[in-house]
Amino acid sequence: MMSLEEISQKIQASAKRLLTEGKVEVVIGYRRGSIPMMAAPHFARTEDDCNQLIWTSFARTNLAGYLSKFSGKVAIVAKGCDARSVVGQVVENQILRENLYIIGVGCLGMVDTELIQAKEPRLYREVTEDITTIKLFGADWNTNIVKEEVLRRNCKTCLSRTPKETADELIGDEVQPLPNDNWADLKALATKSPQDKLVYFKNLIQGCLRCYACRQACPLCYCPVCFVDETQPQWLGKSNDEMDTLTFHILRAFHCSGRCTSCGSCEAACPMDIKLREFNRILEEEVQKEWNYVPGLSWEQKPPLTTYRPDDEADFIK
């Protein structure tokens, strides 16, 4: 198995080559964060910048959302879900395919820092990692935690860990999905009555601060003005009123249906640890069942809910 250092070195080499050959103006990736268990999005333009690029399992935020901020040619370091979001940006006409270079990395999954702290609640001073293990160092102790035991929930059920369909080059080993049943827990939810579902969703959003970090961290949320920010008319109240807050989350989920790649950026950004993907997963499953469509695997196919045809066979549309 390739080590984190080897993957990082290959990313750096690739970034340097792309910049030197003038193929791209900037390489978007991650660098080491200023605190333990944190990576920072990094925009490499020089050789020095490139030397800071790393591969880590503490990458919280999907980088695809940054792409449309650049007008020139851009390379992006992408794990499986991120690469699918990048493809989504092209399919939805936010960026041009010819301006894009995907450095794909086979991904063993990102870790959930909450789960790490649940396993080891003592105050750490330093945290290091290798490809399979997190190592926490306290004042007079250290602990090893196996990454596979503390993966983010979306990483446990990820079916596209290696972006082999769409990446311009691949770094690291090809990673196979973990055995899982992605929709198992949704079956229980589906049998609930509408009233019980409402209770379930109200509980889910308890504590929401209406900060919209989920929206800002989501590569799908690129609307110039979000419906919650519109004032003429104002569609939604701004307080922590339960129904207003729930309306925001449900509407955002509908806007993302058939487009969400389960990257978990929203959940990682949420300061209140709200399991936001519950909303998206239900719709993700619906779209997959109804149209056999998985977003971000093809450069041509549009998300089903963004297209229409005059000869559509469904009656309701006519």
Binding site: G33, S34, R60, G65, R125, C211, D229, S239, N240, P271
Partner: protein, 342 residues
């Protein structure tokens, strides 16, 4: 000021709860430690700090300020009447970390000063008794000492305690604290001066050194405003506003009117300078048009404007919440260093 020995934690918390004040203290809610009204038996003292800052005790995320009704048979139909300004049972807040107490005092100077008083803040903040809990074991992201604070800091507190065996050491810090605690049962007068000084020195030594902000203090606003690093840092900023919502000194709000068939309310909600909507004018013009200006505003406010208006007190109190929760690792310490370098 008086120093006391408290033999037993729970007896003391029970005494606080039966003092005629509401006890507010750290408790575990949804796996997170939060400040909330509680029974003394449920107080959780094994915490680094509360997950969110305690500002919401006095400045909630959503606060109803006024209400009216639409019953035309009554003469006061459609007349806004203030809410939440009646005298209520005051609170005793136990377990504030010194950084957060200092943060509250920063907001206090904004909400109550010689020009105006915010009655919604004042009604709750003023009568409350604030008892701090000194930090003996600060966390990996704590940096109060870097911005003029201390794990034993006394600003904004009426008394401070430190865990001492099964009980506490306690020192009163204000006349209000003195008055409140002199009638509390289970306290014995003691001498903690040497002990506090030793512990303070030891814990402070484990924390970061003061940030050099001398050039920021001397520089003009405009020269810092035009520094080139803002753009580079803002490149990765998502403008998500998490930093402002979790910050103990961020205090901006938005006022909204809402109504239904029966009546209406005027509400103030936390708002954030990271949001485009926060500064957009009725004309459509936005003086902070991109995320660079919006992100710069927050750091200028913390590190330049608040110190200018509050005799050098930094607007950042070093709790580390924004550093830990920023999804893209924008670290206020790094930004402050860049501001000081120019």
């Amino acid at each position: 000021m008086t120093e006391y020995i408290v033999k037993d934690k729970l007896t003391f918390l029970r005494a606080l709860a039966s003092s005629g004040y509401n006890l507010i203290a750290p408790i575990s809610m949804k796996n997170k430690i939060q400040m909330a009204p509680t029974d003394p038996d449920k107080v959780d003292l094994d915490y680094l700090n509360t997950f969110l800052s305690p500002k919401s005790l006095f400045f909630p995320q959503t606060e109803k300020m006024m209400a009216f009704h639409k019953d035309l048979t009554k003469s006061d139909a459609f007349v806004y009447k203030p809410l939440g300004l009646d005298q209520v049972k005051p609170s005793v807040i136990f377990g504030l970390r010194p950084c957060d107490a200092k943060g509250l005092s920063v907001i206090d100077k904004i909400f109550q000063n010689n020009r105006f008083t915010d009655p919604y803040w004042n009604t709750k903040y003023e009568p409350s008794v604030k008892i701090g809990l000194a930090c003996l074991n600060p966390g990996p992201n704590c940096f109060c000492t870097a911005v003029g604070g201390s794990p034993f800091g006394e600003i904004g507190l009426d008394a401070i305690t430190l865990v001492r065996g099964n009980g506490f050491g306690l020192k009163t810090l204000s006349a209000k604290g003195e008055e409140f605690l002199k009638n509390t049962s289970g306290l014995e007068i003691g001498d903690l001066t040497g002990e506090i000084a030793d512990l303070k020195k030891k814990v402070e030594a484990s924390l970061p050194l003061p940030l050099d902000l001398s050039k920021v203090q001397g520089a003009t606003i405009l020269s810092i405003f035009n520094q080139p690093h803002w753009k580079t840092t803002a490149d990765r900023c998502l403008n998500c506003g998490t930093c402002t919502f979790v910050c103990p000194t961020c205090h901006c709000f938005d006022i909204q009117d809402e109504q239904d068939e029966e009546g209406g309310v005027r509400i103030r909600n936390w708002d954030t300078c990271m949001s485009w909507l926060y500064t957009v004018h009725g004309t459509g013009h936005n003086p902070r048009p991109t995320k660079t200006e919006r992100m710069r505003q927050r750091f200028m406010h913390k590190i330049k404007y608040i110190p200018m208006k509050q005799d050098g007190t930094c607007g950042c109190i070093g709790c580390g919440r924004c550093v830990q929760l920023c999804p893209v690792n924008i670290d206020i310490r790094e930004v402050a260093k860049q501001m000081n370098q120019g």
